[in-house]
Homo-oligomer: 217 residues x 2
């Protein structure tokens, strides 16, 4: 049974397929992303909801190779810092491929703008709603990339202040994501961290309760 | 031109249509959401990416009517506090319908779990990546709801500590979203805040730059 606003079975299947097959990619084959495809992926971001309609997303497309190299170094520095902080899991972590910055075809920095404090609607008690809106935009990008056959990876292993300084970002703004986009030889069958046995996924049933918090959460 | 991993034109169109027609809904007609549909929407959330595979999403389905009423009161209190904080825009804000808690068919609280500090991967310098992952999950829910013909609204007008206390949530956890789901008579043609002239949307072109921050951002 469906209601009058429901999409067709084929349309629904396409959306659920995109969600199921979307992966956080780190391996790219270097083939260029067509401008029209790249444009549609960014347009998908811009279709996201935002708290109080603040649209707190800014995208910096990195085309300068020297900048790309410097961004790669910033990430590698944090990769090693993270490894240290992981103690027991350090060696396992260092075996993982955690980014594809030098192999991807399009590199985009997604950032929160400065002067966000003027947006109070929906943020007086939850100021982090700006981050939520930007994340919804990035999830749209991820799904759009997947249907276009393009892989995308969200890298958060970086010191935000160092990256902000490199990209001449103003005080109050904040880079949140280094997004690597590009063609891939294959999408991972499962999340790479599952394939590499970094962690196991928990079933949905364990993460839902009724009326009150569940101790098993 | 497409690459070998690209979806069909029809599949792509379905995904882009869902993104374009998704709305943050506050008006519901009260018809029940079928359990199978509700299940698919939650399953969509669970297909989201998460930093270091931490899956920082917990969902509390509110079925108790007394709880629902109390949640509605918590939101109304914050609605008035927000109105005060908005000064000049206070009267315009108070005219807006900002939630549909008592009219929606399913009420779900989405929350970050406690003990998140043990997840360091991708969060050492950006701890807010947990919020990002939960937001990606909620965007998936929004799109899934849209293709099922169900409206969803994300309400963030509440004091998180008060809501956490009501739902017996442990220290360290954080409710992030009051999600209202239900059938609607019609989806808004444009974001409600645009229709109500609360704010104007900025074009995507203004929010993209090359290599460095744009002063016009």
């Amino acid at each position: 049974m469906t209601n009058k606003h429901s999409y067709t079975a084929e349309e629904k299947a396409a959306v659920y397929k995109a969600m199921a097959e979307r992966r956080d990619m780190r391996h790219f084959n270097g083939n260029p992303v067509e401008p029209a495809v790249f444009g549609r992926i960014l347009k998908a971001a811009h279709m996201a909801p935002s708290v109080g309609l603040m649209q707190p997303w800014r995208f910096i497309r990195i085309v300068n190779q020297d900048l790309r190299t410097k961004i790669s170094r910033i990430v590698d520095k944090e990769r090693l810092e993270t490894a240290k902080a992981l103690n027991d899991k350090k060696d396992d972590f260092l075996k993982l491929k955690v980014e594809g910055i030098l192999q991807c075809s399009e590199l985009v920095i997604a950032a929160l703008p400065d002067k966000r404090e003027k947006h109070i609607f929906g943020r007086r008690t939850l100021p982090q709603m700006d981050m939520a809106s930007l994340s919804c935009a990035i999830q749209n990008m991820w799904l759009a990339a997947r249907v276009e056959g393009i892989g995308m990876g969200w890298v958060s292993l970086f010191d935000p202040e160092t990256l902000a300084s490199l990209l001449k970002m103003p005080k109050g703004s904040l880079p949140i994501a280094i997004l690597c986009l590009g063609e891939v030889d294959a999408f991972y069958d499962k999340p790479m961290l599952v394939q590499e046995k970094w962690a196991e996924e928990r079933p949905l049933e364990e993460l839902i309760s009724t009326d009150f918090w569940d101790e098993g959460f």
